[in-house]
């Protein structure tokens, strides 16, 4: 069976225009050669820090932004090159939930119209049927049909996020791109939303591309995790494996930087502190994009050649790939966690 979504060597460069003539003087390499695949019913987590290109990737995958190069194949359809009419049809199957529950709902629309809008645009059902469907969707996301008459400002952040989710579910999509869906929420509300996403995935057989910067959340919800840095994916692995046996020095540093809510664990952890900031994606470093901050950097080949994403041949085989000239290798029998 082929994967539901397949992304190959995807690139998105934004031109930098300066002067009154708006001449293009450079490019921001927001997404620069990203490849991954998601199976039906699977959750792929995409993590990385601000500016690494994870949100742009999500948008290009849905063709909310045009791609510069590469291919996106969804259920056999070429998303990048499909004609507009076909894309319109495809949008029923591919939806998105945004980060900011305050900015993503129109404050002048009633909840019922917000949720029914995709149904109306796609010409599905009669007025009465749509009304019934809105009530149904509200119940699915843990609100009640009475909420349909209200406006967004009458809801808390967590409830708004549920409304955004109901809108995404309206057309019975197969894939939902979740772009930081819980990062604006307080922990107790965040947990409600995570459980809801998990339940819906099971009940409606959804596939998620889950984009977030919070590694604990991503590890919890994802089957596999892809780590992005400066427009490139540097490591992909099963989420448990990513934590127990990270191979890329950036993944290792990222994992070690996340504080764990356990004082005893915190006192014994070794933290890898990266120096400096992420370079500008308008001037990515030569060779491996991580080399200026990498503790393992060797001038040759790291400053010259960007390593390919490939398996190091461990037990996980092709399920664990890393783009590094000097990946961490683990002895086959080593069952313990590395010191993170």
């Amino acid at each position: 069976m082929s994967p539901l979504l397949e992304v190959h060597d995807l690139k998105k460069h934004f031109p930098i225009k300066t002067g009154i003539l708006k001449r293009t003087t450079g490019q921001v390499y927001a997404v620069d050669g990203v490849s991954f695949a998601i199976e039906e019913g699977e959750t792929l987590g995409l993590v990385g820090e601000s500016g690494c290109g994870k949100s742009t990737t999500g948008r290009v995958v849905l063709r909310l932004l045009p791609a510069t190069a590469g291919s996106v194949t969804f259920a056999g359809v070429d998303v990048i090159r499909a004609p507009r009419a076909q894309i319109q049809r495809l949008r029923r199957d591919m939806q998105i939930v945004f980060q900011d529950p305050y900015a993503s709902l129109n404050p002048r629309m009633r909840v019922k119209n917000i949720i029914a809008e995709p149904l109306r645009i796609h010409g599905i059902g009669t007025e009465a049927e749509r009304k019934r469907r809105v009530g149904e969707l509200l119940e699915i996301v843990g609100l009640t049909a009475e909420h349909a008459e209200r406006y967004p400002h009458e809801f808390s952040g967590g409830q708004r996020q549920r409304i955004g989710l109901a809108r995404a579910l309206a057309l019975n999509p197969r894939l939902i791109v979740c772009d930081e869906p819980v990062s604006a929420l307080d922990v107790s509300i965040q947990a409600q939303m995570i459980n809801l996403l998990e339940d819906l995935q099971k009940d409606l057989k959804l596939t998620y591309l889950f984009i977030a910067h919070d590694l604990s959340v991503v590890k919890h919800i994802s089957d596999r995790v892809a780590v992005m840095y400066l427009g490139k994916i540097v490591e992909v692995a099963d989420s448990a494996l990513m934590y127990s046996r990270p191979q890329h020095p950036y993944t290792e540093a990222l994992l070690s930087a996340v504080p764990i809510p356990d004082p005893k664990t915190e006192r014994t952890r070794r933290r890898i502190i990266l120096e400096g900031d992420v370079p500008s994606p308008a001037k990515p470093p030569s060779g491996c994009v991580f080399h200026p901050r990498c503790p393992r950097m060797q001038p040759d080949p790291c400053t010259k050649v960007m390593p390919e994403l490939q398996s190091t041949g461990g037990d996980a085989g092709a399920n664990h790939v890393v783009a590094c000239h000097f990946p961490t290798r683990y002895a086959a029998d080593q069952a313990t966690l590395p010191a993170t």
């Binding site: 910067h213 590694l215 996340v258 502190i273 990266l274």
Partner: protein
Amino acid sequence: MAERLLDVKDLSTHFFTHAGVVRAVNGVSFSLARGETLGIVGESGSGKTVAALSVMRLVPDPPGKIVAGEITLKGRDLLALKEEEMRHVRGNDIAMIFQDPMTSLNPVFKIGDQIAETIQVHQGKSKREAWQMATALLAKVGIPDAERRVNEYPFEYSGGMRQRAMIAMAISCNPDILIADEPTTALDVTIQAQIMDVIREMQAQYQSGVIMITHDLGVVAQMADRVMVMYGGRTIEYGPVDEVYYNPHQPYTWGLLGSLPRLDESKKQRLTPIKGQPPNLLLLPPGCPFSGRCPYEREVCRGAFPETEIVGPEHGVNCWIPLDERLEIRANLPRFAARVA
């Protein structure tokens, strides 16, 4: 025992708005000793920031007012000070860093000007001396090429560097107390790790007391010696970090810990969120603020806020559920049994 720096007793700060009285902080007490870190943890609207602003006497008045309580800094009653004297306390004795380093720096002045100003005002140094000190401070908090960077404007700094500059400004007058209000919430984790490192180093060097306000229980576990959990303007549990994390007594604390996905969990466990929404501070229930959301709530919870009960070394909790019953409930919490054992 380390010198007691700060004592806050029964602090209440209310906001008198057109919509009614917002009881942001309601009878909160805490203390801080030299060299120690106190974590104040809570969600949006729990009152953690207002409690800290009250200590700095920076609550906007009107509509805010400290309506009750005592704040004592090394024996001095801060609430009795004139604004003039209080201005001297801020910076010299207590300094604060905020969540958003962009809005707390003035965009039209050089970084060096802003740090030097603090030094000139509080230590009466000349402009030249102050600039030299500013450069040295920037180098100390890990700004590379400080000689040049001191002449730059905030927009030329990255988020992490701005927060470093804020820390440089905060420690410029060697304060006894540093209050950090969500200092790393706007930053990426690898930058957060750098900033936490700087705060720890500064604390070790100056032996200051640090109050770390955060919603992140991981940050508290990493940084704090003692922790205070706030909800709806009240402290509902406090104690040494190990006590609160491994022997928590308040259902809200259980709820918070159960809501967190954990990076070090080997098997995927379902989260146990807290039901419902945080309370509206205008319509706080007269009793325990967590009543209404608490799954173990009873009649008495809605009537009055419980007294503090001491359940361990320096470990206090406010909860109406009798101790033995509480322990029994906790033993049966799925995500909990594993972590306490």
